[in-house]
């Protein structure tokens, strides 16, 4: 039976009857018989099944495509120029301080830290000039190089529940796999295994340099909140209803930490524990070994010097140097930058647009140039 065979047969029957009623000779119709049949069937069967769907046949060749191509190329060049312009508006200053020396002189902070990992209070002061005022809003970032946050074992070395304010999963740190990802899950103190909060390699390696901007002997006011993603903040919670130091009294800090989890931000009690935004930022692990992380915003409070901008002039960068990177060839720097609506300073996409546009426009010449050389020979080959 053909698809919908009964209906077709019915349809045929009707057609035949109509023909007879009209006095038409069925024999003489037999030449058209096939069409009559096909007509009947096509009512029942759709173009989809018959592979008769009407189709747009884009035949890409020089003639059909050039106008489009040209148009697109010019659009792209325009967009590229726009992007470059926007990017050029962004002001950015990067100050490297990996190898900085303390004001007191002597060994570099990096060296001091390598010689005695527990040493504290190595302070660097780096002067810098702003030739033009940096328009608001100005943001402070720290940038690390040759630092791998995207290692598989590193990324998984955390405990979501613990970060969410739960006490229960204390050891192992990551339940997904038993043996790995469990570094820094606990410490032995007085022969007792004490769980670490926050456990895991990410928490352990929290960036702990302190960065201050000083202008005319006064610290530039900085805001340390609003630097993390709201969507991340919901994932980080402190234990509810208990003061932090009580809540975590049976826990200990990660090995490399110098502060307790409850006073990560001494000036803002809400910005502590799991809710500390620097911690939340750090937990959003970077994709590449060169990355920037939000450190703080300049407070552009109305009525202050900083209302409109970070004014031009000379500044000092004061660093509490605690984070060792030199030993593995890493670098640290501070980035002071404002943004455009497409983010920070990066003209790469602009150049990409312009060069793609240029290549597109260039094709016209190339193809027409080649066309008459090869076309005729080739036709001969085919036949």
């Amino acid at each position: 039976m053909p698809p919908n065979g009964y209906k077709i047969a019915e349809c045929l029957e009707t057609t035949a009857l109509t023909a007879r009623a009209k006095g038409l000779d069925l024999k003489s119709m037999s030449a058209a018989n096939y069409n009559r049949y096909a007509m009947c069937v096509k009512k029942e069967m759709n173009d989809f099944q018959q592979q008769q769907l009407s189709a747009w046949l884009p035949h890409l060749n020089a003639g059909t495509v050039f106008p489009t191509f040209f148009l697109m190329a010019s659009c792209m060049i325009t967009l590229g120029v726009c992007q470059l312009y926007i990017s050029a508006q962004v002001q950015e200053l990067q100050i490297k301080y990996t190898h900085c020396y303390p004001i007191t002189g002597g060994k570099s902070c990096a060296q001091t830290l390598e010689d005695n990992p527990d040493s504290e209070g190595c302070k660097c002061v780096l002067p810098f000039m702003l030739d033009v005022p940096f328009e608001a809003n100005v943001y402070i970032y720290y940038a690390l190089n040759n630092y791998y946050q995207s290692l598989q074992n590193y990324i998984y070395s955390q405990n979501e529940a613990q970060l969410d304010g739960s006490f229960t999963p204390t050891y192992p740190c990551n339940s997904e796999t038993q043996s790995l990802y469990n570094a820094f899950a606990s410490k032995i103190i007085d022969g007792k295994e004490v769980p670490i909060v926050p456990c895991g390699a990410i928490g352990n390696s929290l960036f702990n340099d302190t960065i201050r901007l000083v202008r005319s002997g006064q610290g530039v006011p900085l805001i340390y909140t609003g630097i993390s993603w709201p969507t991340d903040q919901v994932k980080f919670n402190n234990p509810k209803g208990i003061p932090l130091n009580t809540a975590y009294e049976n826990y200990t800090n990660p090995v490399y930490w110098r502060k307790n989890i409850w006073d990560l931000d001494p000036n803002n009690s809400d910005n502590n524990g799991m809710k500390n935004e620097a911690l939340i930022v750090w937990y959003r692990t970077a994709a590449f070994p060169e990355f920037r992380k939000f450190y703080a915003k300049v407070d552009h409070k109305i009525g202050t010097t900083y209302e409109k901008s970070l004014p031009k002039g000379s500044y000092f960068l004061e660093i509490d140097y605690n984070y060792p990177v030199r030993m593995f060839g890493g670098t640290k720097s501070v980035v002071i930058s404002n943004t455009s609506w497409i983010g920070g300073k990066n003209s790469f996409l602009g150049f990409a647009y312009i060069s793609t546009g240029k290549v597109g426009a260039h094709h016209k010449y190339t193809i027409f140039h080649d066309k008459y050389i090869h076309h005729k020979e080739n036709i001969n080959e085919i036949f």
Binding site: M76, N137, Q178, A287, F294, F328, I342, D370
Partner: protein, 1104 residues
């Protein structure tokens, strides 16, 4: 050329083996009164699976594919703790899903086969109940060895039967064996004398209840049977002439009684067909399998590189204090890391390819089923794809091996003379049916002008000549043999004169004409004959001679003497002597006239063959029929053309054949012309020669030999063969070929049940190949490939599937290079495993289903387009796509990398969205690029295509939005992805990137396509452009190209106008003059006997 010649036909070859069978195995003993439950039952099955075998067989078939084995391995490896970067079930679940889809498809297809089998098995037949002596209706499958059955006219025999008696004299019956050996003429079988008198069920029970049959064990030899009937104390030998076989049909006989000898799969027909339908896999699939291995090798290389890099990195970067403690003995083990990378990159081999292929094929098959252009109105049968695994094979067929009867020609039914029958009105009508249709036509014609053939008795025939009944006495019947190519009857007319009427091949009759007759009619008739012959008709000449009474008496005495002699005089054999005697009397003939019959071809056969030849397909005709008939059909269907050199190999002996083959080879070598080879009886060593010929006709080949030829062609040429046939005799061939096509529409046709595709008539073949084949294997233009433009839908689909996985997973390699080779995926794990299942599942489907370069009409119009399919799936193409994937991943990754380089992607100043913001941006660009790449390769954009390509992209965005909100809804699910959509969509960099990154990745593809379509046009491009252009000037160009085609592909034929042509024409003419004898040569009952057994004045028994 091989030195060994295997020239025997199956039947003859069997004699030695059959004897062996007899010696080695005990004979089968059948008691006629008993039923023999221990023999195989009569149910047959052609289905692949049953309930029990499904699971193991299906799994075996599935894990034949390397890719499935690989994914099973990956799924198992993922269960090892710590090793998998993508969780435990990201491979297992898709794999199970894919296997389920395949399983459902297989079950669906096999159920159809089961239904067909059930239809055959539940046909009803009358079986004798030996206790009540009543005939009872039973299903075929209930028949047991030893049962007695009654078969009525036009019924198929349910199993191999020993003929006990029939309604005809001497227990004779006529059978049509077209299904078995392809011969259209009826054959006669007769019962043993001792059983012919049992004309009722009571008699059967009472007289035969103590008898038994001893016969051969079941074997596959159609023409061989040895047995003994033990009836009381006497033993009667049985031969093949006493047996009727399953697959044959009873004709012109009211009924027969038979005793079941072999049932079901033990019947000779089923023994001839391979027992189980083989599981065919297409060439493309085999190549895909190979390329999968290649991809696996690439995968391993990448993994080794990554693992080594990881090892080195770890060695050199011990100072990264923040990573301390993240390694243990196991994870720093090289092979463990290697395994991690294998799991990370495993989808470099596309997991969804097989299931996409199967779904596409399945739908393609449904397109074939639904195609109105392949629907045969006459038979109310659509084309049917019985398996969908072979669609793409249709686009690459190089050799078509066709059966003749029922395939090229209509199944002409040639019945014998029947007796008078009274219609209910009481008005006598006479049905005349001759052994050959022209005889019947002559008799009917004579009746119309007043000479009516009314009755016959063993001695005489009665003719009502214009009202007066005349009685002609039959004196002698001089039999037909293929040597004599003639047959004659000596009669005594009512006036007492003796006349010899003769009919035969024109060459034979002309040699024996009298001078006067030759002068009088010779030229005119010869003119007619050659006219007939050029039309491909089979001709016969009729002549008469008066014989003096005394001469006749003298001759008759010698003739009778000759028949009883042991050997002829002068060292002649008896047969030769009889022939000489016959020739003596068949002389001085007076020509009466000539007749011509046409073996009616199926609709449009010559056109189809012409089209197929133009498409570069070789056509071989394999038939069980006679050489003359075959050549004749060859001419009428334009397979043999006048310009061709015909080489006929028809020698009897081994040596002669070898000689003529060598001779023919020289001939072929020296000729410029197209060669047609006609082989009578098969030699296995003719292949080399045959492959050089344009067309080949093999005559008198058995079913098994047909299959052997197919196998040989497959093996020697390594190209795709297609076998087409309608009968049970074609089953073996259909199964052996890469693609088997059965002709459907007639009842009880075994061929259809074993075929891969069933079509109603031959003429639809060309559409099946050119349209569906081509649309399955569609021509295409491909960027980055120099010269080769043809690519099939499926090949494109496969290559595209490879491409899209390469494009995505090589990204992981680049990411590994910036993430310390840790095996971390740049993407979220479920996004990654849904890539193949959701985000890029549709584009390959639309490529596989809706892409087309030219319309069906164009494909039909330019068969030469078909030729360009042959080198589709080559290594170059494969690498081009692979490199395209690598190139795209390279651009995608590094462009995105540099775009997000400063990490501040938002105005609000937040930096570093983390690896997942980068990963998801990259994933977005990749999905867009990969979908657009599909769009670039698609030649016809239907609304489905639009939906698939834009829909896939939209799907990713929707997924991203939904998945990013999971965390709030379900605790801890999708924590990584929480809020990612807002991060990405709020970034200006992302939107700037979307405008340029996919485009720059595709820029090379677009440019290449442009340049090659403008400057290096292929045949397909030209035709495509023509199709696109509607202006009149463009149309004239079209015609011009059409003419160009014609010139190109006919150029060979023009060369054939060489000098030797005239010389050969005579030989050819002789070959073309087929003659129209349909009598069975050396049959079970000679014609002379046959003519005498009938007495139409007596009524026949009813056989209750």
């Amino acid at each position: 050329m091989s030195d060994t010649l295997a020239m025997e036909r199956l039947g003859e070859e069997s004699s030695s083996t059959a004897v062996n069978d007899g010696h080695n195995q005990p004979k089968r003993l059948i008691y006629m009164i008993g039923t023999h439950q221990h023999f195989c039952d009569n149910a047959i099955t052609t289905a692949k699976y049953n309930v029990l075998t499904f699971v193991p067989k299906f799994l075996f078939e599935q894990f034949h594919r390397y890719s499935n084995i690989f994914f099973l391995f990956i799924a198992l490896m993922q269960q090892i703790p710590n090793v998998s970067p993508t969780g435990k079930y990201t491979t297992a679940l898709p794999l199970i899903f894919i296997l389920m889809v395949s399983a459902i498809k297989e079950i669906f297809e096999d159920i159809k086969r089961h239904k067909a089998d059930r239809g055959v098995n539940t046909t009803l037949v009358l079986v004798l109940n030996k206790f009540t002596s009543q005939w009872e209706w039973k299903y075929w499958q209930q028949i047991r060895v030893g049962d007695m059955v009654k078969i009525t006219n036009d019924q198929f025999f349910p199993s191999d039967l020993f003929l006990l008696t029939s309604s005809e004299p001497n227990g004779m019956c006529y059978i049509e064996t077209a299904n078995l050996d392809g011969e259209t003429n009826l054959k006669i079988r007769h019962a043993l004398k001792v059983t012919t008198h049992c004309l009722s069920s009571e008699q059967l029970v009472s007289e035969l209840s103590l008898s038994s049959i001893q016969c051969d064990q079941p074997n596959r030899h159609l023409y061989e049977f040895h047995g003994n009937l033990k009836l009381g104390d006497s033993v009667h030998p049985m031969g093949p002439e006493n047996v009727v076989l399953r697959g044959a049909k009873l004709r012109n006989t009211n009924w027969i009684f038979g005793c079941v000898l072999y049932t079901g799969h033990e019947s000779k027909l089923m023994m001839n067909s391979s027992v189980r339908a083989p599981i065919k896999r297409s060439n493309v699939e085999k190549i895909t399998n190979k390329q999968t291995i290649l991809l696996f090798a690439i995968l391993l290389v990448i993994c080794v590189i990554s693992a080594t890099a990881s090892y080195i990195w770890k060695k050199q970067n011990k100072e990264h204090w923040y990573l301390d403690g993240l390694e243990d003995a196991l994870s720093s083990n090289y092979f463990f890391v290697l395994l991690t990378f294998i799991i990370l990159y495993n989808n470099l081999i596309p997991i969804s390819l097989q299931v996409t292929l199967e779904m596409v094929r399945f739908i393609q098959a449904s397109f074939i089923n639904a195609d109105i252009e392949m629907y045969c109105e006459e038979k109310d049968t659509p084309a049917m794809a019985r398996t969908s695994n072979l669609n793409e094979e249709l686009g690459q067929v190089k050799y078509i091996l066709s059966d003749k009867t029922g395939t090229l020609t209509r199944n002409t039914v040639v019945p014998e003379v029947d007796n008078n029958e009274m219609t209910p009105e009481g008005k006598p009508t006479i049905r005349y049916q001759g052994a050959s249709p022209d005889e019947a036509a002559l008799v009917r014609g004579a009746q119309n002008i007043g000479f009516e053939f009314t009755a016959r008795t063993p001695e005489c025939v009665f003719i009502n000549a214009l009202g007066t009944v005349e009685k002609y006495e039959i004196l002698n019947v001089l039999d037909f043999t293929s040597d004599r190519k003639r047959m004659s009857t000596i009669v005594r007319t009512p006036e007492g004169k003796i006349k010899l009427y003769i009919k035969g091949a024109d060459s034979m009759i002309y040699d024996r004409l009298s001078e006067s007759s030759l002068q009088e009619f010779g030229d005119v008739t010869e003119q007619h004959l050659s006219n007939f012959a050029t039309e491909g008709l089979r001709t016969l000449c009729c002549a008469v001679v008066d014989i003096e009474d005394n001469i006749y008496q003298e001759w008759n005495k010698k003739y009778i003497e000759a028949q009883t002699m042991e050997t002829g005089p002068n060292g002649m054999s008896r047969d030769d002597y009889i022939n000489e005697m016959m020739s003596k009397v068949e002389a001085n003939l007076k020509l009466i006239g000539s007749t011509a019959i046409e073996d009616k071809l199926q609709d449009d056969v010559p056109d189809t063959i012409d089209t197929l030849l133009k498409a570069g397909i070789h056509i071989w005709v394999l038939t069980g029929d006679k050489q003359e008939t075959a050549i004749n059909i060859g001419h009428s269907c334009k397979l043999l053309q006048t310009g061709m050199l015909h080489v006929v190999i028809d020698d009897d002996s081994l040596d002669n054949t070898r000689e003529s083959i060598t001779e023919a080879q020289n001939q072929i070598r020296s000729t410029q012309r197209e060669v047609a080879l006609i082989v009578d009886e098969l030699s296995s060593s003719f292949m080399e020669m045959a492959l050089k010929c344009k067309s080949v006709i093999c005559c008198r080949v058995s079913p098994a030999q047909k299959a052997e030829i197919v196998e040989a062609v497959k093996k020697t040429t390594r190209s795709i063969t297609l076998a087409i046939g309608d009968g049970a005799n074609d089953v073996a061939m259909i199964r052996a070929a890469n693609v088997g096509v059965g002709i459907s529409g007639l009842e009880g046709l075994q061929a259809v049940h074993s075929s891969d595709y069933a079509i109603a008539q031959f003429r639809f073949l060309s559409r099946l190949l050119l349209v569906h084949g081509s649309w399955s294997l569609f021509l295409s233009r491909l960027l980055l490939v120099h010269g080769s433009w043809s690519l099939s839908r499926l090949c494109k689909l496969i290559l595209y599937s490879f491409y899209k996985n390469i494009a995505l997973y090589i990204l992981e390699l680049w990411f590994a290079s910036v993430s310390a080779w840790s095996g971390q995926a740049a993407f979220e794990r479920w996004s990654l495993s849904l890539y193949n299942v959701i985000f890029t599942a549709a584009p390959p489907m639309v490529i596989g289903l809706f892409d087309r370069q030219c319309s069906a009409e164009t494909m039909m119009k330019y068969p030469a387009l078909y030729k360009t399919h042959s080198d589709l799936f080559n290594v170059k193409l494969f690498w081009t796509w692979i490199l395209s994937g690598v190139w795209h991943s390279l651009l995608l990754f590094w462009l995105t990398y540099f775009s997000v380089n400063n990490d501040t992607l938002w105005q609000h100043g937040r930096a570093d969205g983390g690896y997942l913001v980068f990963g998801n941006m990259l994933f977005t660009y990749t999905v867009i690029t990969v979908c657009l790449k599909a769009g670039l390769e698609i030649n016809a954009w239907t609304w489905v295509t639009h939906a698939a390509i834009w829909g896939s992209i939209v799907m990713w965005f929707v997924y991203l939005m939904i998945y990013s909100r999971f965390w709030g809804l379900f605790h801890f699910v999708g924590a990584d992805m929480c809020g990612i959509d807002q991060m990405i969509f709020s970034s200006g960099v992302f939107w700037f990137g979307i405008g340029i990154i996919p485009l720059s990745a595709l820029l090379v593809d677009i440019s290449y396509k442009l340049i090659s379509r403008t400057c290096f046009k292929t045949l397909t491009d030209e035709i495509m452009e023509m199709e696109l252009a509607n202006s009149p000037s463009q149309q004239s160009m079209l015609l011009e190209t059409a003419r160009l085609f014609k010139n190109v592909f006919h150029v060979k034929r023009d060369k054939s106008k060489d000098v030797r042509r005239r010389h050969r024409q005579e030989v050819e003419l002789d070959l073309q003059h087929g003659y129209a004898f349909s009598q069975e040569e050396h049959g079970a009952v000679p014609q002379s006997t046959l003519i005498r057994v009938y007495d139409t004045t007596r009524s026949k028994p009813s056989g209750i």
